[in-house]
Amino acid sequence: MIAFENVGLRYGHGPEILKDLSFSIDPGSFHFLTGPSGSGKTSLLRLLLLSLKPTRGRVTMFGEDVIKLDRDRLLQMRRHIGIVFQEFRLLDHLTTFENVALPLRVRGQSETSYRANVEELLDWVGLGDRMDAYPSLLSGGEKQRAAIARAVIAKPDILLADEPTGNVDPELSERLLHLFEELNRMGTTIILATHELALLDKFGYPRMLLNEGELVIHE
Protein backbone atom coordinates (compact mmCIF):
# COMPACT_ATOMS: atom_id res chain seq x y z
CA MET A 1 0.00 0.00 0.00
CA ILE A 2 2.85 2.35 0.88
CA ALA A 3 6.47 1.86 -0.15
CA PHE A 4 9.48 4.13 0.41
CA GLU A 5 12.76 3.51 -1.42
CA ASN A 6 15.81 5.54 -0.37
CA VAL A 7 13.68 8.56 0.31
CA GLY A 8 15.32 11.81 1.32
CA LEU A 9 13.69 15.12 2.21
CA ARG A 10 15.01 18.59 2.73
CA TYR A 11 13.20 21.89 3.18
CA GLY A 12 14.47 24.34 0.60
CA HIS A 13 18.26 24.38 0.68
CA GLY A 14 18.43 23.26 4.31
CA PRO A 15 19.95 20.04 5.63
CA GLU A 16 18.40 16.69 4.87
CA ILE A 17 15.63 16.15 7.43
CA LEU A 18 14.80 12.60 6.37
CA LYS A 19 17.64 10.39 5.18
CA ASP A 20 17.49 7.30 3.04
CA LEU A 21 14.20 5.91 4.30
CA SER A 22 13.20 2.53 2.91
CA PHE A 23 10.19 0.64 4.23
CA SER A 24 6.79 -0.63 3.20
CA ILE A 25 3.46 -0.72 4.96
CA ASP A 26 0.79 -3.35 4.35
CA PRO A 27 -2.92 -2.58 4.12
CA GLY A 28 -4.77 -3.01 7.38
CA SER A 29 -1.66 -2.67 9.54
CA PHE A 30 -1.15 -0.43 12.57
CA HIS A 31 2.21 1.26 13.12
CA PHE A 32 3.56 3.52 15.79
CA LEU A 33 5.88 6.18 14.41
CA THR A 34 8.14 7.25 17.21
CA GLY A 35 11.31 9.13 17.95
CA PRO A 36 12.42 12.21 19.86
CA SER A 37 11.08 15.63 19.12
CA GLY A 38 12.62 17.02 15.93
CA SER A 39 13.48 13.58 14.56
CA GLY A 40 11.23 14.06 11.53
CA LYS A 41 7.92 12.35 12.43
CA THR A 42 5.74 15.21 11.24
CA SER A 43 7.80 15.57 8.06
CA LEU A 44 7.33 11.89 7.28
CA LEU A 45 3.57 12.19 7.82
CA ARG A 46 3.51 15.16 5.44
CA LEU A 47 5.14 13.00 2.79
CA LEU A 48 2.47 10.39 3.38
CA LEU A 49 -0.25 13.05 3.17
CA LEU A 50 1.18 14.06 -0.24
CA SER A 51 1.60 17.62 0.98
CA LEU A 52 5.35 17.36 0.39
CA LYS A 53 7.25 15.61 -2.36
CA PRO A 54 10.48 13.71 -1.63
CA THR A 55 13.65 15.45 -2.73
CA ARG A 56 15.13 12.10 -3.62
CA GLY A 57 14.16 8.45 -3.73
CA ARG A 58 10.77 7.07 -4.63
CA VAL A 59 7.48 7.07 -2.71
CA THR A 60 4.79 4.71 -3.98
CA MET A 61 1.25 4.93 -2.66
CA PHE A 62 -1.68 2.85 -3.83
CA GLY A 63 0.70 1.50 -6.48
CA GLU A 64 1.58 4.88 -8.01
CA ASP A 65 4.76 6.92 -7.93
CA VAL A 66 3.71 10.09 -6.14
CA ILE A 67 6.16 12.28 -8.05
CA LYS A 68 4.18 11.62 -11.23
CA LEU A 69 0.74 12.46 -9.89
CA ASP A 70 -1.17 15.21 -11.60
CA ARG A 71 -3.47 17.51 -9.65
CA ASP A 72 -6.63 15.45 -10.15
CA ARG A 73 -5.02 12.14 -9.21
CA LEU A 74 -3.42 13.72 -6.17
CA LEU A 75 -6.80 14.97 -5.06
CA GLN A 76 -8.40 11.54 -5.55
CA MET A 77 -5.62 9.88 -3.58
CA ARG A 78 -5.86 12.37 -0.77
CA ARG A 79 -9.50 11.47 -0.41
CA HIS A 80 -8.37 8.02 0.71
CA ILE A 81 -6.21 9.49 3.45
CA GLY A 82 -7.38 10.88 6.78
CA ILE A 83 -5.18 13.14 8.87
CA VAL A 84 -5.19 14.19 12.51
CA PHE A 85 -2.88 17.19 12.85
CA GLN A 86 -0.77 17.73 15.91
CA GLU A 87 -2.37 21.17 16.33
CA PHE A 88 -5.85 19.85 15.33
CA ARG A 89 -6.40 22.60 12.75
CA LEU A 90 -10.15 22.76 13.32
CA LEU A 91 -11.80 25.77 11.65
CA ASP A 92 -12.72 28.21 14.40
CA HIS A 93 -15.80 29.67 12.73
CA LEU A 94 -17.48 26.31 12.24
CA THR A 95 -19.21 24.24 14.93
CA THR A 96 -17.93 20.84 15.97
CA PHE A 97 -20.57 19.25 13.78
CA GLU A 98 -19.63 21.37 10.77
CA ASN A 99 -15.93 20.71 11.27
CA VAL A 100 -16.43 16.98 11.41
CA ALA A 101 -18.77 17.04 8.41
CA LEU A 102 -16.36 19.14 6.32
CA PRO A 103 -14.68 16.25 4.44
CA LEU A 104 -18.10 15.06 3.27
CA ARG A 105 -19.17 18.57 2.38
CA VAL A 106 -16.12 19.17 0.21
CA ARG A 107 -16.95 15.92 -1.58
CA GLY A 108 -20.22 17.53 -2.60
CA GLN A 109 -22.50 15.57 -0.28
CA SER A 110 -25.62 17.25 1.01
CA GLU A 111 -26.17 17.98 4.66
CA THR A 112 -29.29 15.79 4.79
CA SER A 113 -27.37 12.80 3.47
CA TYR A 114 -24.59 12.93 6.06
CA ARG A 115 -26.21 14.42 9.15
CA ALA A 116 -27.09 11.07 10.74
CA ASN A 117 -23.62 9.63 10.08
CA VAL A 118 -21.85 12.62 11.55
CA GLU A 119 -24.08 12.59 14.63
CA GLU A 120 -23.46 8.91 15.12
CA LEU A 121 -19.70 9.37 14.89
CA LEU A 122 -19.79 12.31 17.29
CA ASP A 123 -21.71 10.16 19.76
CA TRP A 124 -19.15 7.44 19.32
CA VAL A 125 -16.23 9.73 20.21
CA GLY A 126 -18.23 11.16 23.10
CA LEU A 127 -19.00 14.58 21.59
CA GLY A 128 -22.72 13.99 21.10
CA ASP A 129 -23.62 16.90 23.36
CA ARG A 130 -20.92 19.26 21.98
CA MET A 131 -22.05 19.26 18.36
CA ASP A 132 -23.08 22.92 18.26
CA ALA A 133 -20.10 24.21 20.21
CA TYR A 134 -17.34 26.15 18.48
CA PRO A 135 -13.74 24.87 18.81
CA SER A 136 -12.76 27.81 21.04
CA LEU A 137 -15.16 26.44 23.67
CA LEU A 138 -13.85 22.87 23.52
CA SER A 139 -11.27 21.42 25.93
CA GLY A 140 -8.02 20.01 24.58
CA GLY A 141 -9.37 16.48 24.74
CA GLU A 142 -12.60 17.46 23.01
CA LYS A 143 -10.72 19.18 20.19
CA GLN A 144 -8.56 16.11 19.86
CA ARG A 145 -11.60 13.88 19.47
CA ALA A 146 -13.24 16.30 17.02
CA ALA A 147 -10.05 16.26 14.94
CA ILE A 148 -10.03 12.46 14.98
CA ALA A 149 -13.71 12.35 14.01
CA ARG A 150 -13.02 14.70 11.09
CA ALA A 151 -10.15 12.47 9.97
CA VAL A 152 -12.25 9.32 9.87
CA ILE A 153 -15.70 10.56 8.80
CA ALA A 154 -15.02 9.91 5.11
CA LYS A 155 -13.83 6.34 5.87
CA PRO A 156 -10.22 6.72 4.70
CA ASP A 157 -8.08 3.72 3.80
CA ILE A 158 -5.11 5.23 5.55
CA LEU A 159 -5.29 7.24 8.78
CA LEU A 160 -2.32 9.41 9.73
CA ALA A 161 -2.31 10.77 13.27
CA ASP A 162 0.34 13.20 14.52
CA GLU A 163 0.73 12.91 18.30
CA PRO A 164 -3.02 12.55 18.80
CA THR A 165 -2.53 11.97 22.51
CA GLY A 166 -0.13 14.80 23.05
CA ASN A 167 -2.60 17.12 24.74
CA VAL A 168 -4.63 14.79 26.91
CA ASP A 169 -4.27 12.96 30.21
CA PRO A 170 -3.13 9.32 30.24
CA GLU A 171 -6.63 8.01 30.82
CA LEU A 172 -8.03 9.77 27.74
CA SER A 173 -4.93 8.76 25.78
CA GLU A 174 -5.81 5.15 26.35
CA ARG A 175 -9.42 5.67 25.39
CA LEU A 176 -8.36 7.36 22.16
CA LEU A 177 -5.99 4.48 21.42
CA HIS A 178 -8.90 2.07 21.82
CA LEU A 179 -10.77 4.21 19.33
CA PHE A 180 -7.92 3.85 16.81
CA GLU A 181 -7.83 0.10 17.48
CA GLU A 182 -11.50 -0.06 16.67
CA LEU A 183 -10.96 1.77 13.38
CA ASN A 184 -8.05 -0.50 12.53
CA ARG A 185 -10.21 -3.53 13.19
CA MET A 186 -12.65 -2.17 10.61
CA GLY A 187 -9.87 -2.17 8.02
CA THR A 188 -8.19 1.23 8.20
CA THR A 189 -4.40 1.29 7.92
CA ILE A 190 -3.08 3.43 10.76
CA ILE A 191 0.19 5.27 11.25
CA LEU A 192 0.26 7.01 14.60
CA ALA A 193 3.12 9.29 15.57
CA THR A 194 3.82 9.51 19.28
CA HIS A 195 6.74 9.79 21.64
CA GLU A 196 4.86 8.48 24.67
CA LEU A 197 6.69 5.34 25.69
CA ALA A 198 3.93 4.24 28.04
CA LEU A 199 1.51 3.93 25.14
CA LEU A 200 4.02 2.06 23.00
CA ASP A 201 4.48 -0.48 25.75
CA LYS A 202 0.81 -0.84 26.54
CA PHE A 203 -0.25 -1.34 22.92
CA GLY A 204 2.20 -3.65 21.27
CA TYR A 205 1.93 -2.49 17.67
CA PRO A 206 5.03 -2.51 15.44
CA ARG A 207 7.19 0.57 15.70
CA MET A 208 9.07 2.74 13.30
CA LEU A 209 11.72 4.61 15.22
CA LEU A 210 13.17 7.75 13.71
CA ASN A 211 16.34 9.31 15.00
CA GLU A 212 17.77 12.43 13.39
CA GLY A 213 15.95 11.63 10.21
CA GLU A 214 17.06 8.04 9.96
CA LEU A 215 14.83 5.02 10.39
CA VAL A 216 16.57 2.97 13.03
CA ILE A 217 13.86 0.39 13.71
CA HIS A 218 11.10 -0.83 11.44
CA GLU A 219 9.17 -3.77 12.83
Binding site: L49, S51, R71, L75, R78, R79, I83, F85, R89, L91, H93, L94, T95, E98, A101, L102, P103, R105, V106, R107, G108, E111, R115, R150, A154
Partner: protein, 306 residues
Protein backbone atom coordinates in the same frame (compact mmCIF):
# COMPACT_ATOMS: atom_id res chain seq x y z
CA UNK B 1 -40.71 17.27 17.42
CA UNK B 2 -38.67 20.35 18.19
CA UNK B 3 -35.55 18.35 17.28
CA UNK B 4 -37.04 17.58 13.90
CA UNK B 5 -37.81 21.24 13.29
CA UNK B 6 -34.32 22.29 14.27
CA UNK B 7 -32.81 19.81 11.85
CA UNK B 8 -35.20 20.88 9.12
CA UNK B 9 -34.06 24.48 9.31
CA UNK B 10 -30.38 23.77 9.84
CA UNK B 11 -28.04 25.33 7.34
CA UNK B 12 -24.30 24.68 7.46
CA UNK B 13 -22.19 27.74 8.22
CA UNK B 14 -20.25 29.29 5.36
CA UNK B 15 -16.80 27.76 4.91
CA UNK B 16 -15.25 31.18 4.31
CA UNK B 17 -16.08 33.35 7.35
CA UNK B 18 -18.63 36.02 6.46
CA UNK B 19 -17.14 38.58 8.82
CA UNK B 20 -13.66 39.05 7.44
CA UNK B 21 -12.17 42.53 7.54
CA UNK B 22 -11.10 42.45 3.90
CA UNK B 23 -14.70 41.66 3.00
CA UNK B 24 -16.05 44.78 4.64
CA UNK B 25 -13.33 47.01 3.22
CA UNK B 26 -13.93 45.57 -0.21
CA UNK B 27 -17.67 46.10 0.10
CA UNK B 28 -17.10 49.75 1.01
CA UNK B 29 -14.70 50.16 -1.89
CA UNK B 30 -17.11 48.59 -4.35
CA UNK B 31 -19.90 50.75 -2.98
CA UNK B 32 -17.85 53.91 -3.56
CA UNK B 33 -16.75 52.81 -7.03
CA UNK B 34 -20.34 51.99 -7.96
CA UNK B 35 -21.48 55.37 -6.67
CA UNK B 36 -18.84 57.16 -8.74
CA UNK B 37 -19.72 55.10 -11.81
CA UNK B 38 -23.44 55.78 -11.39
CA UNK B 39 -22.93 59.51 -10.86
CA UNK B 40 -20.69 59.67 -13.92
CA UNK B 41 -23.17 57.67 -15.92
CA UNK B 42 -26.15 59.72 -14.70
CA UNK B 43 -24.36 63.00 -15.33
CA UNK B 44 -23.43 62.01 -18.86
CA UNK B 45 -26.96 60.84 -19.50
CA UNK B 46 -28.44 64.13 -18.23
CA UNK B 47 -26.10 66.23 -20.33
CA UNK B 48 -26.73 64.12 -23.38
CA UNK B 49 -30.52 64.09 -22.92
CA UNK B 50 -30.65 67.83 -22.32
CA UNK B 51 -28.42 68.61 -25.27
CA UNK B 52 -30.51 66.52 -27.61
CA UNK B 53 -33.74 68.02 -26.29
CA UNK B 54 -32.49 71.57 -26.36
CA UNK B 55 -30.97 71.21 -29.79
CA UNK B 56 -34.25 69.83 -31.12
CA UNK B 57 -36.29 72.63 -29.51
CA UNK B 58 -33.98 75.28 -30.87
CA UNK B 59 -33.97 73.66 -34.27
CA UNK B 60 -37.73 73.99 -34.43
CA UNK B 61 -37.51 77.77 -34.30
CA UNK B 62 -35.94 80.39 -36.56
CA UNK B 63 -35.72 84.07 -35.93
CA UNK B 64 -35.95 86.81 -38.55
CA UNK B 65 -34.36 90.06 -37.46
CA UNK B 66 -35.50 93.27 -39.13
CA UNK B 67 -33.59 96.44 -38.49
CA UNK B 68 -35.18 99.80 -39.06
CA UNK B 69 -33.70 101.27 -42.26
CA UNK B 70 -34.14 104.85 -43.40
CA UNK B 71 -36.71 105.12 -46.18
CA UNK B 72 -38.34 101.78 -45.34
CA UNK B 73 -41.56 101.19 -43.39
CA UNK B 74 -40.64 98.76 -40.65
CA UNK B 75 -44.20 97.49 -40.14
CA UNK B 76 -44.68 96.62 -43.81
CA UNK B 77 -41.29 94.87 -43.95
CA UNK B 78 -42.40 92.80 -40.97
CA UNK B 79 -45.65 91.85 -42.72
CA UNK B 80 -43.67 90.97 -45.88
CA UNK B 81 -41.30 88.73 -43.91
CA UNK B 82 -44.27 86.96 -42.28
CA UNK B 83 -46.01 86.27 -45.56
CA UNK B 84 -42.74 85.06 -47.22
CA UNK B 85 -42.06 82.75 -44.31
CA UNK B 86 -45.56 81.31 -44.22
CA UNK B 87 -45.33 80.50 -47.95
CA UNK B 88 -42.42 78.12 -47.28
CA UNK B 89 -43.48 74.45 -46.90
CA UNK B 90 -42.76 73.01 -43.43
CA UNK B 91 -43.39 76.31 -41.68
CA UNK B 92 -46.16 76.08 -39.11
CA UNK B 93 -46.44 79.71 -38.17
CA UNK B 94 -44.63 83.04 -38.36
CA UNK B 95 -45.34 85.71 -35.81
CA UNK B 96 -43.88 89.09 -35.06
CA UNK B 97 -42.98 89.81 -31.47
CA UNK B 98 -44.97 92.80 -30.28
CA UNK B 99 -43.13 95.75 -28.77
CA UNK B 100 -44.19 94.64 -25.30
CA UNK B 101 -42.80 91.16 -25.84
CA UNK B 102 -39.51 92.60 -27.07
CA UNK B 103 -39.39 94.84 -24.02
CA UNK B 104 -39.98 91.83 -21.76
CA UNK B 105 -37.14 89.99 -23.47
CA UNK B 106 -34.75 92.90 -23.00
CA UNK B 107 -35.87 93.80 -19.51
CA UNK B 108 -33.30 91.60 -17.70
CA UNK B 109 -30.51 93.39 -19.56
CA UNK B 110 -31.76 96.94 -19.86
CA UNK B 111 -34.00 97.28 -16.80
CA UNK B 112 -37.73 97.81 -16.38
CA UNK B 113 -39.82 100.78 -17.54
CA UNK B 114 -38.05 100.97 -20.87
CA UNK B 115 -39.76 102.50 -23.87
CA UNK B 116 -38.59 100.79 -27.03
CA UNK B 117 -40.34 103.21 -29.32
CA UNK B 118 -37.62 105.73 -28.43
CA UNK B 119 -34.89 103.37 -29.57
CA UNK B 120 -34.40 102.07 -33.04
CA UNK B 121 -33.87 98.47 -32.13
CA UNK B 122 -34.50 95.52 -34.46
CA UNK B 123 -37.83 93.76 -34.39
CA UNK B 124 -38.10 89.97 -34.33
CA UNK B 125 -40.27 87.55 -36.27
CA UNK B 126 -40.41 84.07 -34.75
CA UNK B 127 -40.82 81.30 -37.35
CA UNK B 128 -42.00 77.96 -35.95
CA UNK B 129 -41.35 74.92 -38.13
CA UNK B 130 -43.75 71.98 -38.22
CA UNK B 131 -41.07 69.77 -39.68
CA UNK B 132 -37.44 71.00 -39.44
CA UNK B 133 -36.26 68.43 -41.98
CA UNK B 134 -38.80 69.28 -44.69
CA UNK B 135 -38.51 73.06 -44.41
CA UNK B 136 -36.55 74.75 -47.21
CA UNK B 137 -34.42 77.00 -45.05
CA UNK B 138 -32.12 78.02 -47.92
CA UNK B 139 -35.05 79.40 -49.93
CA UNK B 140 -36.35 81.27 -46.90
CA UNK B 141 -32.89 82.70 -46.29
CA UNK B 142 -32.52 84.03 -49.83
CA UNK B 143 -36.03 85.50 -49.90
CA UNK B 144 -35.56 87.21 -46.54
CA UNK B 145 -32.27 88.65 -47.78
CA UNK B 146 -34.35 90.56 -50.34
CA UNK B 147 -35.91 92.66 -47.61
CA UNK B 148 -33.82 95.68 -46.63
CA UNK B 149 -32.34 95.38 -43.14
CA UNK B 150 -33.63 91.79 -42.62
CA UNK B 151 -31.63 88.67 -41.77
CA UNK B 152 -32.34 85.06 -40.82
CA UNK B 153 -30.91 83.55 -37.68
CA UNK B 154 -30.99 79.69 -37.84
CA UNK B 155 -29.00 79.01 -34.63
CA UNK B 156 -27.09 76.44 -36.67
CA UNK B 157 -23.65 77.50 -35.46
CA UNK B 158 -24.88 77.50 -31.91
CA UNK B 159 -26.32 74.01 -32.26
CA UNK B 160 -23.09 72.65 -33.67
CA UNK B 161 -21.30 74.09 -30.66
CA UNK B 162 -23.82 72.58 -28.26
CA UNK B 163 -23.55 69.16 -29.88
CA UNK B 164 -19.74 69.26 -29.84
CA UNK B 165 -19.76 70.16 -26.17
CA UNK B 166 -22.24 67.42 -25.32
CA UNK B 167 -20.22 64.92 -27.35
CA UNK B 168 -17.03 65.87 -25.53
CA UNK B 169 -18.75 65.40 -22.18
CA UNK B 170 -20.12 61.99 -23.22
CA UNK B 171 -16.72 60.76 -24.44
CA UNK B 172 -14.98 62.02 -21.27
CA UNK B 173 -17.67 60.35 -19.18
CA UNK B 174 -17.16 57.03 -20.91
CA UNK B 175 -13.41 57.35 -20.39
CA UNK B 176 -13.87 58.13 -16.69
CA UNK B 177 -16.28 55.21 -16.36
CA UNK B 178 -13.79 52.81 -17.96
CA UNK B 179 -11.01 54.04 -15.68
CA UNK B 180 -13.22 53.54 -12.64
CA UNK B 181 -13.96 49.98 -13.76
CA UNK B 182 -10.28 49.22 -14.31
CA UNK B 183 -9.42 50.66 -10.88
CA UNK B 184 -12.20 48.58 -9.34
CA UNK B 185 -10.88 45.42 -10.97
CA UNK B 186 -7.36 46.13 -9.69
CA UNK B 187 -8.65 46.80 -6.19
CA UNK B 188 -10.59 43.54 -6.28
CA UNK B 189 -7.46 41.64 -7.28
CA UNK B 190 -5.57 43.07 -4.30
CA UNK B 191 -8.45 42.54 -1.89
CA UNK B 192 -8.98 38.98 -3.11
CA UNK B 193 -5.32 38.10 -2.69
CA UNK B 194 -5.42 39.67 0.76
CA UNK B 195 -8.49 37.70 1.73
CA UNK B 196 -6.96 34.48 0.42
CA UNK B 197 -3.79 35.06 2.42
CA UNK B 198 -5.81 35.86 5.54
CA UNK B 199 -7.75 32.65 5.07
CA UNK B 200 -4.72 30.62 4.06
CA UNK B 201 -5.20 28.23 6.98
CA UNK B 202 -8.72 27.45 5.79
CA UNK B 203 -7.48 26.90 2.24
CA UNK B 204 -4.75 24.52 3.46
CA UNK B 205 -7.08 22.55 5.72
CA UNK B 206 -9.60 22.25 2.88
CA UNK B 207 -6.87 20.92 0.61
CA UNK B 208 -5.76 18.37 3.20
CA UNK B 209 -9.23 17.00 3.76
CA UNK B 210 -9.75 16.46 0.04
CA UNK B 211 -11.32 19.62 -1.35
CA UNK B 212 -10.70 20.37 -5.01
CA UNK B 213 -9.50 23.79 -6.15
CA UNK B 214 -12.85 24.11 -7.87
CA UNK B 215 -14.71 23.62 -4.60
CA UNK B 216 -12.50 26.07 -2.70
CA UNK B 217 -12.74 28.67 -5.48
CA UNK B 218 -16.52 28.28 -5.44
CA UNK B 219 -16.68 28.99 -1.71
CA UNK B 220 -14.60 32.15 -2.07
CA UNK B 221 -16.39 33.31 -5.20
CA UNK B 222 -19.74 32.99 -3.50
CA UNK B 223 -18.49 35.40 -0.86
CA UNK B 224 -17.15 37.85 -3.43
CA UNK B 225 -20.30 37.77 -5.51
CA UNK B 226 -22.31 38.65 -2.39
CA UNK B 227 -19.84 41.41 -1.51
CA UNK B 228 -20.06 42.74 -5.08
CA UNK B 229 -23.85 42.65 -5.13
CA UNK B 230 -24.23 44.28 -1.71
CA UNK B 231 -21.56 46.93 -2.31
CA UNK B 232 -22.91 47.60 -5.79
CA UNK B 233 -26.52 47.89 -4.64
CA UNK B 234 -25.53 50.27 -1.84
CA UNK B 235 -23.52 52.44 -4.26
CA UNK B 236 -26.35 52.49 -6.82
CA UNK B 237 -28.91 53.41 -4.18
CA UNK B 238 -26.67 56.18 -2.89
CA UNK B 239 -26.36 57.53 -6.44
CA UNK B 240 -30.15 57.60 -6.87
CA UNK B 241 -30.52 59.40 -3.54
CA UNK B 242 -27.79 61.80 -4.67
CA UNK B 243 -29.64 62.71 -7.88
CA UNK B 244 -32.93 63.20 -6.05
CA UNK B 245 -31.22 65.37 -3.42
CA UNK B 246 -29.44 67.52 -6.01
CA UNK B 247 -32.71 67.96 -7.90
CA UNK B 248 -34.48 69.06 -4.73
CA UNK B 249 -31.63 71.35 -3.70
CA UNK B 250 -31.73 73.10 -7.07
CA UNK B 251 -35.47 73.64 -6.82
CA UNK B 252 -35.10 75.01 -3.30
CA UNK B 253 -32.12 77.30 -3.86
CA UNK B 254 -32.84 78.71 -7.32
CA UNK B 255 -35.55 81.31 -7.84
CA UNK B 256 -38.49 79.94 -9.78
CA UNK B 257 -37.77 81.13 -13.37
CA UNK B 258 -34.07 80.27 -13.41
CA UNK B 259 -34.81 76.96 -11.74
CA UNK B 260 -37.21 76.25 -14.57
CA UNK B 261 -34.47 77.16 -17.01
CA UNK B 262 -31.93 74.96 -15.27
CA UNK B 263 -34.51 72.23 -15.06
CA UNK B 264 -34.91 72.60 -18.77
CA UNK B 265 -31.18 72.29 -19.25
CA UNK B 266 -30.73 69.40 -16.87
CA UNK B 267 -33.94 67.68 -17.76
CA UNK B 268 -35.22 68.73 -14.32
CA UNK B 269 -32.53 66.46 -12.96
CA UNK B 270 -34.88 63.61 -13.67
CA UNK B 271 -32.95 60.54 -14.77
CA UNK B 272 -36.09 58.92 -16.00
CA UNK B 273 -36.65 55.22 -16.53
CA UNK B 274 -33.60 54.67 -18.72
CA UNK B 275 -31.46 56.44 -16.14
CA UNK B 276 -32.66 54.04 -13.43
CA UNK B 277 -32.20 51.07 -15.75
CA UNK B 278 -28.70 52.33 -16.55
CA UNK B 279 -27.83 52.57 -12.85
CA UNK B 280 -29.14 49.04 -12.35
CA UNK B 281 -26.96 48.03 -15.30
CA UNK B 282 -23.88 49.68 -13.75
CA UNK B 283 -24.55 47.79 -10.49
CA UNK B 284 -24.82 44.51 -12.40
CA UNK B 285 -21.64 45.21 -14.35
CA UNK B 286 -19.74 45.93 -11.13
CA UNK B 287 -21.11 42.85 -9.36
CA UNK B 288 -20.20 40.76 -12.40
CA UNK B 289 -16.77 42.36 -12.59
CA UNK B 290 -16.23 41.52 -8.91
CA UNK B 291 -17.29 37.91 -9.44
CA UNK B 292 -15.15 37.36 -12.54
CA UNK B 293 -12.08 39.19 -11.27
CA UNK B 294 -12.12 37.42 -7.91
CA UNK B 295 -12.74 34.08 -9.63
CA UNK B 296 -9.65 34.49 -11.78
CA UNK B 297 -7.60 35.75 -8.84
CA UNK B 298 -8.69 32.86 -6.59
CA UNK B 299 -7.85 30.34 -9.33
CA UNK B 300 -4.42 31.90 -9.83
CA UNK B 301 -3.79 31.89 -6.08
CA UNK B 302 -4.78 28.23 -5.70
CA UNK B 303 -2.62 27.18 -8.64
CA UNK B 304 0.33 29.08 -7.21
CA UNK B 305 0.19 27.49 -3.78
CA UNK B 306 -0.35 23.88 -4.87
Amino acid sequence: MSEGLKIGFYRPGPIVPAQSVAGRTLMLLIGIMTFLSCVTFGGVLLVQKSAVGWSADVGRELTIQIRPVDGEVLESNIRLAISLAEAIPGVAEARALSLEESEALLEPWLGAGLDLSDLSIPRLVIVRLSDPNAADITRLESEIAGIAGAGLETHAAWRVQLNTMAGTIVVSGILVLSLILVATALAIVFATRGTMSTNREIVDVLHFIGASNRFIAGEFQGRFLMIGLKGGAAGGLAAIVFFIAVGMAINAVMPEPSSAQLGFFFGRFALGLNGLLGIAGVVMVIAGLTAITSRLTVRRFLLQIS
